[in-house]
Subunit: 342 residues, 2 copies
DNA sequence: CTGTTAGCGCGTTCAC
DNA sequence: GTGAACGCGCTAACAG
């Protein structure tokens, strides 16, 4: 390990030079109003000149609070999280708070480890956007005295506050829509490692069962959710179900792969084959034909989650708010127009 | 601000309960070999039972070093950075180091602010993957005593070590390839805010000039690099240059938009129209036709950058290594086969 | 508005 | 192999 500069300027150095006590310098930085303007001006100048930077560790230790909060994400590689992150950043901007992201790689152990680390840093708050080991992590989280916000399915219990989507309902809506468009042999393409995905698959199954069209073998999943996975899954699905006429994808990227593969093998979309995605990622609007999908307010969710943490950290609000963000079906060109009456 | 639990278990509490001195407990955690096995076992158990978690702030303050390093990224929304991040994570995994990401939003001020914050936290190291305000930030970075690794174009000077790609050369290679394929009116689509993009545009211009085909108006750029931007840029470009027969895109997502738009307006790819991307993102292999692109070892770059930071932080290597990672042209279906001889 | 006293929780140094 | 004393740099609580 490398040492920091041992000659780094400290609060004490500045105070000595200014001929005041350290606490005055400290106050100039934290409660400027409590220091007389002249003194403040002089000290501020000295701080600048001497290149003083407060030591966060010392600050955190002395004051027992920390201005950075952690965001645990199960996969940063998921483009859906990117909008979410941007929402967080937007809320944090112009705030003294800082965000620390950590990737849990869909791994419960890693999730627990990260939570412990955050706790050990006396973190200002935690946003949990992965929910793999919810039960196990919940145990840890209960001990936390800092605000905890989970981003989950609306039906799952959460330890603290939550900002969520009813994924089950969203997938149900999409499935119903596909049925209304007249598709019958509808597959579900998802991932194995994501709880949200399992929720969505639930909504799909419910509607398909109600329509008497459910078949276990219509549910496909792959570990690595990506456009290439969409290609493979469609290929596999068509082998088993040559009469497949639509796919509901757990995420737009899968749908992108499905769309290209359908094109390659000469399926006409949407006439012979319907595709519905999830998330309404940027590219969804410009595929050919444009992708029908479920829009989820990812940016806003990030913003709200950060908002809850920040406001709670400042003691302005309760910790247990539950926010349901809603969703929207965006009907575009990869599905036929719905039929007037069933 | 909210207070941490004042009743949090400390090293001292554990020591008291174990009937030993605090330092022994501390050693169990950091230098287990120096404590007798029985004592160690007993203490480890107590730590578990009492739920003791070390306070990082106290640790950092006392030891003067910090096990988390910062990664400054100009835009986490750029999918190219995601592989880069994964590379970093991979190197860090099973290490005591932690990573803290910060988004600089292509903003010099923000970049400076973040660097200052990292410095004030006595960070273990800094990876700078945005390079907007290089000159201004360099000033700050020179004062750093921690390892600094920049991820930049190979021709740019860096303050510390660097892991880089010769973006100019890469774009030149791609442009030459398009020429070899017989395309003549080749546009360049890029972004305005990214230095890497400017580098690539340089390589494009150089080759086009040499071929006597350069025209300023063939260079297009948009702030927000995305698939929709690709659609708009192609639309705009074809208005001004109806005879356009190829596009070199600064990033695959633009190319995706271009591909779909070309499809929509009935251009035959690659016969009448060539497209080349950059980065070889996951979907590049499965578009229809598959995307010709420049592959850049993003994952490896992240891995190497983290490796440099970690090894330097551990005092094992020099700070000024310059690593050139190379690139590779992946010829796929969005370009015609190259002609034997010009 | 300014200063004094005390101590945050841990690691370093040097003893035993 | 184990411990005592001290201090990291800063802020809380109380004086004045």
């Amino acid at each position: 390990m490398r040492r920091g500069r041992s000659d780094r300027t400290t609060l004490f150095d500045v105070a000595k030079k200014a001929g005041v006590s350290p606490i005055t310098v400290s106050r100039v930085l934290r409660e400027p109003g409590k220091v007389s303007p002249e003194l403040r001006g002089r000290i501020l100048e000295l701080i600048e000149v001497m290149g003083y930077v407060p030591d966060q560790a010392a600050r955190a230790l002395a004051s027992k609070h920390n201005s950075t909060f952690g965001v645990l994400i199960s996969a940063m590689t998921n483009p859906a999280f990117i909008s979410f992150m941007r929402g967080i950043e937007e809320r944090v901007r112009d705030t003294d708070f800082r965000v620390q992201y950590a990737n849990t790689h869909y791994c419960v152990e890693e999730e627990k480890r990260q939570v412990r680390l955050l706790l050990s840093q006396n973190t200002a708050g935690i946003i949990l956007a992965g929910m793999e080991g919810l039960e196990q992590v919940a145990e840890l989280l209960k001990q936390a005295t800092c605000p905890v916000v989970q981003v989950v399915d609306v039906n799952l219990e959460s330890v603290g506050a939550s900002v969520s989507i009813d994924h089950t309902e969203a997938a149900a809506t999409a499935t119903e829509y596909l049925l209304k468009c007249g598709y019958r042999r509808i597959a579900f393409f998802g991932g194995t490692s994501d709880e949200r995905g399992r929720r969505r698959s639930l909504g799909y199954s419910r509607v398909m069962k109600k329509a008497g069209l459910f078949q276990e073998s219509l549910i496909y999943s792959e570990n690595n959710i990506s456009a290439p996975a969409g290609v493979h899954l469609l290929h596999a699905a068509l082998q088993e179900h040559p009469d497949l006429d639509a796919v509901l994808c757990q995420i737009d990227e899968l749908a992108l792969g499905v769309l290209f593969e359908a094109q390659r093998i000469g399926k006409r979309v949407p006439e012979d084959f319907g595709i519905c995605g999830y998330n309404d990622l940027q590219f969804a609007a410009i595929t050919q034909p444009p992708l029908t999908t479920i829009r989820v307010p990812l940016f806003e969710m990030g913003y709200r989650a950060a908002d809850l943490v920040i406001r709670d950290a400042c003691g302005q609000t309760k910790t247990r708010s539950v926010v349901n963000m809603g969703f929207e079906l965006i009907a575009r060109g990869t599905t036929r127009p719905p039929r007037a009456v069933e």
